[in-house]
């Protein structure tokens, strides 16, 4: 599904601030894989997502997605088949517009035409979809009036509506309170199972990373430290993960364990 070959990203090349953010990463994601990516702050998780989504170009290396070389493809064109949810709940929806207008924009990907697609039949359909997240009576309300959890749930719903081939979840529950985070996470699991989505999820929650999906990748200093899947992954524990991290990165427990929180 997704094949990264020798992908490298250097920020501010040729200046004193030069930083090697992604260091020669090779990664193969199979169709149907649900992969969690863990790692301390600054390990390159979000940069890797930005490179896959096309927010900025790679310094070197190639990316093949679904048989097509996407290395030079602009972000908006990659978004036709790759869905993405950000940590910030305000990024996925337009606050100045009603829920129904947001949904009609998400319904079909790509440049829009002069048709008025929003009709009562569509509104019925949206009401049914919105009943999943308890917003069925608020079609005409501006999205800016919703809470962070509701907005993130709506973003998730809108992403699923457009049936992407792969989804990138960038700590999408981190800004929510525990109860809302749970709701959004349950919805995520449900949608991934129902639509057999290929998913990559960044998280700081070690337990969630162990429980969720069939594959786990740990990153450190722009490299993939380890990559476990299937049977091996299901045997992982939080303690085991932290020990693995300590052994492989040659870093002391005290400095990094704090960043890899248990819950």
């Amino acid at each position: 599904m997704l094949e990264l070959t020798s992908v490298t990203k250097v920020f501010y090349p040729g200046t004193v601030n030069e930083k090697l953010a992604i260091d020669d990463v090779n990664l193969h994601i199979n169709a149907g894989d649900v992969t969690c990516i863990v790692g301390s702050n600054g390990s390159g998780k979000s940069t890797l997502f930005n490179l896959i989504a096309g927010t900025y170009p790679v310094t070197a290396g190639t990316m093949i997605f679904d048989g097509e070389d996407i290395t030079a493809k602009p972000e908006y064109r990659r978004a036709m088949t790759i869905g993405r949810i950000f940590q910030d709940p305000t990024k996925g929806t337009a606050a100045n517009m009603s829920i129904e207008d947001n949904m009609i924009t998400a319904e079909t990907k790509g440049m829009k035409g002069l048709r008025i697609s929003l009709n009562n039949e569509k509104r019925q359909q949206y009401r049914r979809l919105l009943s999943l997240i308890g917003l069925e009576d608020r079609l005409k309300d501006n999205v800016g009036l919703l809470s962070g959890g509701q907005r993130q749930a709506l973003t998730l719903l809108m992403m699923v509506m457009s049936s992407p081939k792969m989804v990138l979840l960038d700590e999408h529950t981190a800004a929510l309170d525990p109860r809302n985070a749970q709701t959004v996470m349950d919805l995520t699991k449900r949608f991934i199972a129902e639509h057999r989505l290929t998913a990559l999820m960044v998280t700081h929650n070690m337990q969630a990373a162990i429980d969720f999906g069939n594959r786990l990748i740990m990153m450190d200093e722009g490299r993939i430290l380890f990559d476990v899947s299937g049977e091996e992954k299901s045997r992982l524990t939080v303690e085991g993960l932290v020990r693995l991290f300590k052994d492989l990165s040659n870093k002391t427990y005290a400095t990094d364990a704090g960043l890899l929180t248990k819950d």
């Binding site: 908006y76 990024k91 996925g92 924009t105 440049m111 829009k112 035409g113």
Partner: protein, 316 residues
């Protein structure tokens, strides 16, 4: 006299709708307006003086404005500079272009030629010439309003509104925001130039300096309109802009007529318009401060009440 204010306001309202599109819907602070309104006036004037039909002249004005807007959007998109600066660049360049269009003259009159405002009294011969102008202009404005309303309810227009609220969201939906800006700023300036084309015919001449300070006047009209009622429906946003434009022109009319009583001359109007915009912002700010102060009072009253009832139960 009263008809004059309305015609003036209605001609101006098409420009205000254009500014509404760039400032409020696309969230793009576009200063191209000061140049493109004069471009529209110049194109319409030269076309009519050259013997072209009025509809063709207005269509050319519109297209000239679209081109000007697209230049601004292209500068912004390709050179990654703020929209404000891109607009100033285009506006400055347009000043020279407008003089060229006018044949290197600063002012071209529309004398002894057929314009919309000599034809309208013939069409509506059962009305007085002033009312004929009013009815004709109203029809043009309503036509523009309905087209704009339909456009912003269509999928393309909705995605433009989404971009104004959140550019990342539009990218995530697989839409190139650069293309949306090219079309949106183009449409905005097309309407502004169309308004310029009508204005030239109404006042009977085109002037290279016509556009000076137009953006601020348009913003003043939008802000006046926003005091009337609040809504997120496009049909009401454009209606509000039209009302705001008429009220603004009425204020200017009375300023011109009775201003001498307080020693105000038309030379002071730009200052007054600026003060009007600042006052509008100030009042809007005051309103939101007042409503949060009200909420605070209620919250204090609520907690006081709760406190009192707790005390009652402990005493009992």
């Amino acid at each position: 006299m009263i008809e004059g204010i309305f015609v003036d306001g209605l001609v101006f309202s098409i420009m205000v709708i254009g500014i509404l599109i760039s400032y409020r819907i696309l969230n793009f602070a576009d200063l191209t307006c000061d140049g493109s309104v004069a471009t529209g006036a110049a194109i319409a004037t030269m076309a009519i003086v050259g013997g072209l039909p009025i509809t063709v002249a207005l269509l050319l004005s519109f297209l000239g404005g679209v081109a000007a807007g697209m230049v601004t959007a292209a500068i912004h998109n390709k050179l990654k500079i703020p929209g404000l600066l891109a607009g100033i660049l285009t506006m400055t360049m347009l000043y020279s272009i407008n003089l060229r269009i006018l044949g290197n003259k600063a002012n071209v009159p529309l004398l002894r030629v057929t314009t919309l405002y000599t034809k309208l009294p013939q069409y509506f011969s059962f009305l007085s010439p002033e009312w004929a102008s009013l009815v004709g202009t109203l029809m043009v404005v309503l036509f523009v309003k309905v087209i704009v309303d339909l456009f912003f309810r269509a999928d393309l227009g909705v995605s433009m509104g989404a971009m104004g609220g959140n550019e990342q969201m539009v990218i995530s939906q697989g839409i190139n925001p650069e293309t949306l800006k090219l079309m949106g700023i183009g449409l905005s300036n097309g309407l502004i130039a169309l308004s310029g084309g009508l204005l030239a015919q109404y006042q009977g001449f085109a002037d290279a300096n016509l556009g000076q300070g137009m953006v601020v006047q348009g913003l003043a009209a939008i802000m006046i309109g926003e005091f009337l009622f609040s809504s997120n429906r496009i049909s009401l946003l454009t209606l509000r802009a039209i009302f705001g434009a008429i009220i603004y022109k009425a204020l200017m009319f009375f300023g011109r007529k009775y201003g001498y009583l307080v020693n105000i001359t038309p030379n002071d109007f730009k200052l007054l318009t600026g003060i009007l915009v600042i006052a509008s912002l100030f009042i809007a700010q005051g309103r939101s401060a007042a409503s949060s102060a009200g909420a605070k009072r209620k919250a204090i009253a609520r907690s006081q009440q709760r406190h009192d009832s707790e005390e009652d139960t402990t005493h009992a």
